[in-house]
Each structure stands twice: as C-alpha cells, then as structure tokens.
C-alpha cells in the first residue's frame, strides 16, 4: 500500500521534472548559440556546432587539434574545478533549501555568505601560523565563519518570530547592511585599542591596527588570501585524482554537511519540529512546539550554511577575496536559490544541482576559451532552467498526464490518480473558470476511497 510503482512516486516525478527543466534549458541555450553563431561573421556554422557541443559536453573538452577541431575526452582539471566551484553553491543551495523546508524564504544568503567570508578571513589571518598549527586556525576560522552567518541569519528570524516582519524584506536589508559592514571592517575600522593580536602578519597594515591590506592594494581593491598565513583546506589526495585543478576536501565537507542536513530534516525530532512550524505555525504552537524558537533556529542554520560555503571557498588557500568598497552582493549567495529550486529543496538533490550549476560555470569558461562566444551564454541557460524549475509543478502534472486541479492543495489527493486520457484535454478549460476548483469533491472522494 505504501510503496507505489517507481514511476508513480512523488520523488521520481520531481526528479524527472528537474531533469526535463535542465534538458529544455540546454536545448534553448543551443538554439541561442546557433542563432548567434549564424549571424556573427567570425563564428559561422562550424563555430556554432562547436558551441552546441560545448554546451552539452563542455566539461569534457580538452583542446583544439592542429586542424582546429575540438578534442573531447576525460578532462580531470575541469572536473576538479567543477567540484571546487560546486562547494559554495551546494552550501548556499542547502541554506535556501533548509529555510524553504521550514516555510521560510532565505534570500539573505548573499549577506550571510559575506559575513562568513569576513569572519573566516579575519580569523585565519589574525592568528599567526608560527605559533598555532594551521589546522587549528582553519578550524577556528571555519567555525567562526559559520557562527557569523548564524548570527546574521538569526536577525531576520528574530524579526519574523517576534514582530512578524516578512523574512524576505529583513533578509534583503541585512544583505546590504553586511555589504557595508564588510566595507567598514576592511577599509575604515581602526582597531588601535586591540593592538597585538592583529599584528601577526606582515601583510596587514600594522601601524593603526586595521584590516587594510597594504601590500596587495595595487589592483582596484585589496586582496586577501589565507595562504599568506599557510592556512589552506587539505587536499586529501583529491589533487592527485584531479591534477592541475583547484579541488580540495571542501567538496567532501559540503557533501557530508548535505547528508547531515538531510538526516536532521527527515529523521530527527528537531527536523519534525522545524517542518511542523514551517507547514503550519498555528498547529505547531497548538501542539506545544515553540514556534518562535524554531523560526529562529531555521534561519540561523540557513545562515550558518551559507557562511560555511564562504569559509570553504576562501579557506581553500587558492582563492583570493578581492575587494574594494563593496557595492554588489556575491552572486554565489543568490545562486543558492536556483540550486535549491532545481533540487526541489531536497538536501541530497542539492549536491547534484549545485554540481550541475558549477558545471555550467565551467562550460562558460570553456566557451570563451575555445570559441568566440561569451561565457554569459551559460547565464541565459541557467535563467531558462530556473524559470522551468519554477514551473516544475506544471511539468510534474504533465508527466502524470492527469487533469490539473487549480488548487495545488489537492495535489496529494490527485497524485494517486493515474493518467486518464479524457482528462488531459480539459485542463485549460478548468484553469480558466473563475470559481470552483473541485476541492470539495476531491476531499469527498478521498473519504470515499477507504
């Protein structure tokens, strides 16, 4: 009774819907590539064909041979880089997914990410590696980053819980506050009263105890990297597996965190409470669950996850946080939203959708490397996929081939209705009529089924 056939299961339908969105997105990108190619003189049909192939299998593109043809094959550098770039995307995706699972929309991931970046960098560069083992510094920096993100996420949570302020608005505001806060810390703040502990690195401006980087400030802004202080995420042999790439143990940590989050949400009493509050705050309260506390927990966890993504990215040792007065929010934070959307908020799914987004990123760089195309074409593909995954409910119902109830509410009931040929044609007419989705009839039917 509980195990329906594989194709009828909700999870299967969600997966197919997401895969369909991806396929249609890639297909749309190909058409775009074709049109751009055929209308641009220096690309032409051959260039367009190269572009289309890159969009689908760009991850495995290696080089051009002597006669100018693309060579495809196993490209461990690309795969390694993809895994590296997937790490922060998985984390921000998880952040959005956790909040969604508990009925909240965390659009504050960019701000939480920035706060995590700041805390991690400050900790990892402030403790001298000459006196403290780099591993300990790494751990402190990672945990400090998570804590900063958790605090930053808790702010909209508290506002929502006690004052019922919409978390979306509060998140957007905390995003910009964090951008300016980071500016202040790295550019303006003076820590002269706290002299001593910050003086460990010659790379920091010592005289007035600020976090200004006085060495690498020749570019447009200041550059920070943790390798100055010998702090870097261990490679755990992954660099042997994927030579010449940036990959490190961060991806493994991200996967472990995703699995842990999956278990917390689905298997524990804590997750049960979070979900109950998310689905029906009133019923949760009625049942003696502290609804306010759970909203704050949920946002704090989301914040910590985003910040952990930032920590894993910047503590890797081979990235630099290049910064001048911060006027834009990190895109990785916002990209968590499509990652979560594509994974239908499933923490395990986020691992794959995050990796997929990172692959598109790699494909973008390969496009610029091997063809005259602009890498931003992959952004268009992402946009299409996001649009389609927002419609995944429609796609899911198309897969089921059933009549689409106007009320999403009835989904659960109707989901077990197998395809009926005469029903499919009517969905349009049903959606048009202004009143009366058959909710009542649906519930009645549910009762009669027993």
């Amino acid at each position: 009774m509980n195990k329906s056939p594989l194709m009828q299961r909700d999870g299967t339908k969600k997966l197919i819907a997401s895969l369909l969105s991806i396929l249609i997105g890639l297909f749309f990108g190909s058409i775009l590539v074709l049109i751009v190619g055929l209308t641009t003189s220096n690309i032409g049909a051959k260039g367009a064909w190269d572009g289309i192939r890159l969009i689908f299998i760009g991850l495995f593109s290696k080089s051009r041979d002597a006669s100018g043809n693309l060579v495809f094959g196993m490209n461990t550098t690309n795969i390694g880089n993809m895994l590296f770039r997937a790490t922060p995307l998985i984390m921000t995706g998880l952040s959005v997914a956790v909040s969604q699972k508990t009925g909240l929309f965390n659009i504050g991931a960019p701000g939480q990410y920035l706060m995590g970046t700041m805390a991690s960098l400050m900790i990892s560069l402030s403790i001298p590696s000459s006196s403290v083992p780099p591993f300990v510094i790494w751990l402190l920096a990672f945990l400090g980053g998570c804590l900063a993100g958790a605090i930053w996420g808790a702010i909209p949570g508290i506002l929502k819980a006690f004052l019922n302020i919409n978390e979306v608005i509060a998140c957007i505001m905390t995003n910009w506050i964090s951008a300016n806060l980071v500016t202040w810390f790295f550019d303006i703040a003076k820590f002269s009263t706290m002299t001593g502990s910050f003086y460990c690195q010659t790379k920091w401006k010592i005289a007035d105890g600020s976090f200004k980087n006085m060495v690498e400030n020749t570019k447009s802004g200041y550059v920070y990297k943790t390798s100055w202080n010998n702090v870097a995420t261990p490679k755990l042999g992954l660099d042997k597996l994927f030579p010449d790439s940036q990959v490190n143990a961060g991806i493994l940590i991200a996967i472990v965190i995703a699995i842990v989050i999956y278990i917390i949400i689905n298997k524990t009493t804590f997750g049960f409470q979070l979900k109950a509050c998310g689905s029906n705050r009133h019923a949760a309260r009625y049942a003696g669950i502290k609804d306010r506390a759970n909203i704050i927990y949920s946002m704090s966890i989301a914040g910590a996850l985003s910040a952990a993504g930032a920590s894993l990215y910047y503590l890797s040792g081979n990235t630099e946080f290049s910064w001048n007065t911060y006027q834009s929010l990190p895109a990785i934070g916002f990209n968590g939203i499509p990652v979560a959307l594509l994974a239908v908020n499933n923490p395990i799914g986020v691992i794959f959708s995050g990796t997929f987004m990172a692959m598109l990123n790699i494909i973008g760089t390969q496009l610029t490397k091997f063809t005259a195309y602009n890498e931003y074409i992959t952004d268009v593909i992402i946009a299409v996929i996001v649009y389609l995954s927002a419609f995944s409910l429609v796609i899911r119902s198309l897969i089921a081939g059933r009549k689409k109830n106007t009320s999403v509410a009835n989904d659960a009931n109707a989901d077990k209705t197998p395809a009926k040929p005469e029903d499919t044609g009517k969905s349009g007419a049903d959606a048009e009529q202004e009143a009366a989705p058959p909710t009542d009839a649906g519930t009645e039917k549910g009762g009669a089924q027993a």
């Binding site: 009625y286 509410a409 009931n413 009517k426």
Partner: protein, 514 residues
C-alpha cells in the same frame, strides 16, 4: 418519469468512477421546478461528486443530464452557467480584498469599450438584494464582513447571473443558528419565485424545516427519494447511515468527583477590540462530568479556550488544572494534563501537509516510544498511527501515509479526536467537536465523549448547536459578552430558556462579576 416536463434538471443513471472507487454508482436525481430538493448523505457518500458532475467539473462515465427534458452536455462550469446553474460552494470562492460588489460582478462584468460599467451592475445588485432581502453592504471588503454575509455575497453572485437552478453545498456548516434561520427564509423565497434549489446537507433538522423532497445517497449508491412530509428524522438518518442511529445521546446521570479544572477571575484580552473578550469568569469542571459552555458565536468562548490552553495570553485570574497553577505555564506543560480538540481543525488541529501518522504524533513525538536520541522511530510511529486508525475508524486513501489535506473533513476530525482521546489526559477540552460532521460521525463522537466522562475525565465542551448542548452536557454555562450569565441544568431547562440567556435577555445574579 411519466411527465418529464415537470423536471427542470434530471441526472439519469450517473456513474462516476475514480480509481479504486465508484464515487457515484447509477444515481438518478430529478429536480422539479420551484422545489427545494435536499441531497442527503454522509461525508464521502458522493454528494459533492454528483454536484461536481452537474456543475461540469467532472465528466460522468455513464448517464445523461437533461435540462427541461433535453439532453445537455456540461463540459465545464461555463457550460453550467450558460444553462443557468449556479453553485454556492461550502468554502466560499471570494476575493477577500475586493469589495462585495466587485466580487459579485467578477467574471460577468458589464463593460463599455473595455471600461467597467459598475453603475448598472450596482443597480441590478441593489434590486436583487432588495427583492430577496439579502441586505449586505456593497462597498465593504469581503474580509471585513461576517461569514454569513459572505454567503449572501455568494448567493447574490448566483442571482446576478440569472441562475434558475441553485446548488447550495452544505451552506449551513459555517453559520450561526440565527443565520441558518435567515438562510432558510431566503431559500423559501427563491422556491416561491420558481427557482429550483438543490440543497446538499447532512443536517436532518434543516431538511425537515425547508426541503420539499429529499434524495439519499450512501457510499456512492442511490438509496431513494422521499417526500419530506411523509418521513421523519429517524427514518432519514437510517436511510443515510444504513443502520438505526441514536439521535439522542444515551447516557447515565453524571457522577462528578474531584475538581479537575478550577478557573478563578479569569480574563483574556481581545484581539479585535480594546475590551476584554473574557471578563473575570470563574467556574469549575469536575471529574466525571461534561460541562458545556453555550453561547452565540463570538461571545468569548474561543478566547476562553485559547486562554485556558495557552494559545493566547491571559491578563488576569488563575487556572488550576489538577492542583497545579497553569495560568502562566507553557502550552507544552498544559498539554501534560489536557487534551484539546480545537475549534479550527485546519488552523490548529492538523498540519495539513503532513501525513496522517505525523499528525497523530504531533504532540507526542518527543516521547520515548517515538524517538531515540532525537531520531524519530518511524516504525513505532507507523504502528501507533495504524492502531489509532483502526480503533477510531479513520478512513483515508493510503492509511498512515495519507496527506492530511486529502482527507475528508469528517475523517480529519476523527483523526484529531483519536489523537486527543488516546493521549488520555484528565481534562478534555472539545470545541465544536462535531461541526460539519454527519449523523453517524456525530453519534460516534458523542459516545466517545460520554465514555471518557464515565471513565472519570472532566470534559469541557464548547458548542454552538443547541441540540448538542442540551443532549450531551451535564451542566450548562452560558456565555454572553465574555461573562458567564447563567448556570443551567439541561434536565430542568428548555431550549427557549437557554436561548434567552444566550441572547443576553436573561441573567442569573451572582454568577457573574462586574
């Protein structure tokens, strides 16, 4: 069918099959012009499905629909509207932030060059509301008017579209007794005007009061059609349920024992206005008795229960439950000694997107049977839910894993009652536990509450239904404007006297504080 001209609508041999279930099995329904025809059946009997077929929401596998003797095909609600069939749904389909007038004309707007002609519409609506005495403020926003008024808007919507055949899907479930009387009057007016009314219900009193004929469905099958004049409530309920039903609650006299709940000088502020919703009230509930709080909706009963159960903060007085002062305690602490069947099963009672089994352990998931070191023991949860489902006969499509939202209202309520009674607490707070349920389910719930009483529980019942108050309670407390204005013994009082207290026309001295 000798003279089919008599019938304005005929649904002949309708069969509608859903996977695994015949929702309608060869059902014939014939509606005469100018009659009020009741459609009676338990939850899940197929009433709503049949009406959805008539309204074009479902296509029947077999059978035909005739209007004025001619076969018609109704493919969607627009077809139904074109045939002058209108429907008032159980859950209203109104846009809350629109005005009453906007809601009425929505979808049937008169326009000139694409601009709305509201003046004409207003005139027509005003005429209609005057003619049928459907007074409602056309410029009020729907969210600001009462449920009874919202229903009038729905009725005006049908009239505005010149509908001749009016379907009312359980229209009284959300109304107060006064509003029900008014609705009955309106329905009689329609019938007099020659409009034909299909009245879906499971309330026998209303059928006896207003209907001309009644067709009974049971488990998707057509049982029969009878003239209301030739039948009685007992016969109808037997037809509906398929076995003799006790309409009167059978119970022995109460034997009250020790005090379980002691409320003193209790005050709860109102969310709607600056006055207190519950004003300095004091009462007790003892083990082994059913104490009923009676009153017209909105006289502070809901707030009293919210205050007692901790859903809202009280501003004064004490509540002592089993010897423990709980007036400042957390909801979880209070749940340690009380079961709460809430007024609003969708808002408080259930997490609708959770499965039935998750809802069954909504309060108990922390107990050691259901979790180990913070990990939920799904095996035990499943077993427990299955036991409650069997024991309380909760019907659902997929058993414990059914999503609560997909269950019928009656079974949702049964699930809540199963959960609350099985928690086995000394005090049972039941707020309108039978609202919207059919006779069979009501009988069941009443018997359960009496059983709990006989086992030594204190039952605090809040009810708006006078029949229920009179038959179920051992002691009646009448609430009027936030105060207890009378304590009555159901054996020594009459419905009329109770009504006077409820309306505030009469009060006992000394019981209330001012």
């Amino acid at each position: 069918m000798d003279n089919s001209q008599d019938y304005v609508i005929e649904m002949l041999n309708i069969t509608k099959v859903f996977p695994g279930i015949k929702a309608n099995d060869n059902i014939t329904l014939q509606l005469r012009r100018g009659e009020i025809h009741a459609l009676l059946g338990e939850n899940g009997a197929g009433k709503s499905t049949l009406m959805s077929v008539l309204f074009g929401l479902y296509q029947p596998e077999e059978g035909v629909i005739k209007k004025n003797g001619e076969v018609v095909k109704i493919n969607n609600p627009n077809d139904a509207t074109a045939l002058n069939i209108g429907m008032v749904h159980q859950h209203f389909k109104l846009i809350e932030v629109f005005t009453v007038l906007d809601n009425i004309i929505l979808g049937a707007e008169t326009t000139k060059l694409g601009f709305l002609q509201k003046k004409e519409a207003r005139k027509k609506v005003e005429e209609l509301s005057k003619r049928y005495k459907l007074n409602v403020d056309l410029d009020a926003k729907v969210e600001d008017i009462t449920v009874g008024m919202q229903q009038r808007v729905e009725i005006l919507k049908m009239l505005y579209r010149d509908n001749e055949i009016l379907i009312f899907d359980e229209p009284t479930a959300v109304l107060t007794p006064q509003e029900i009387d008014e609705l009955m009057e309106i329905m009689r007016g329609f019938a007099k005007e020659g409009k034909s009314i299909l009245f879906i219900t499971h309330k026998l009193n209303e059928i006896m009061a207003v209907a001309d004929r009644v067709s009974v469905l049971r488990k998707g099958k057509y049982i029969g059609t009878v003239n209301v004049a030739d039948t009685n409530k007992q016969e109808l309920s037997n037809m509906m349920v398929g076995r003799p039903v006790q309409l009167q609650v059978q119970k022995a006299p109460a034997q009250p024992k020790e005090v379980i709940l002691d409320v003193k000088d209790f005050t709860v502020p109102s969310k709607l206005h600056h006055n207190d919703a519950v004003k300095h009230i004091s009462f007790q509930a003892r083990a082994g008795e059913i104490v009923c709080i009676a009153g017209i909706d909105g006289n502070g009963q809901s707030e009293l229960i919210y205050g007692l159960t901790g859903l809202e903060k009280s501003s004064g007085g004490t509540v002592t439950l089993c010897g423990q002062d709980i007036s400042k305690a957390s909801i979880r602490t209070r749940l340690g000694n009380l079961s709460h069947i809430p007024e609003d099963r969708h808002k408080h009672g259930l997490v609708l997107d959770f499965t039935l089994e998750q809802n069954m352990v909504l309060q108990r998931f922390r107990e050691k049977d259901f979790q180990h070191f913070g990990f939920i023991d799904n095996g035990n949860v499943r077993q427990y839910a299955q036991r409650l489902i069997d024991q309380f006969d909760v019907r659902s499509g997929q058993g414990p894993v059914t999503i609560a939202r997909s269950m019928s209202g009656g079974n949702q309520q049964k699930a809540i009652i199963a959960r609350e009674l099985d928690r086995d607490k000394p005090l049972i707070v039941a707020v309108q536990p039978t609202r919207g349920l059919d006779v069979g389910a009501i009988e069941y719930i009443h018997n359960q509450l009496v059983n709990e009483r006989d086992e030594g529980k204190a039952v605090l019942l809040v009810s708006l239904e006078l029949d229920e108050v009179m038959s179920l309670s051992d002691r009646i407390l009448v609430m009027y404007e936030g105060e207890i204005v009378g304590e009555l013994d159901p054996k020594q009082t009459t419905v009329q006297e109770l009504g006077l207290y409820m309306a505030g026309a009469k009060r006992q001295g000394g019981t209330s504080h001012e």
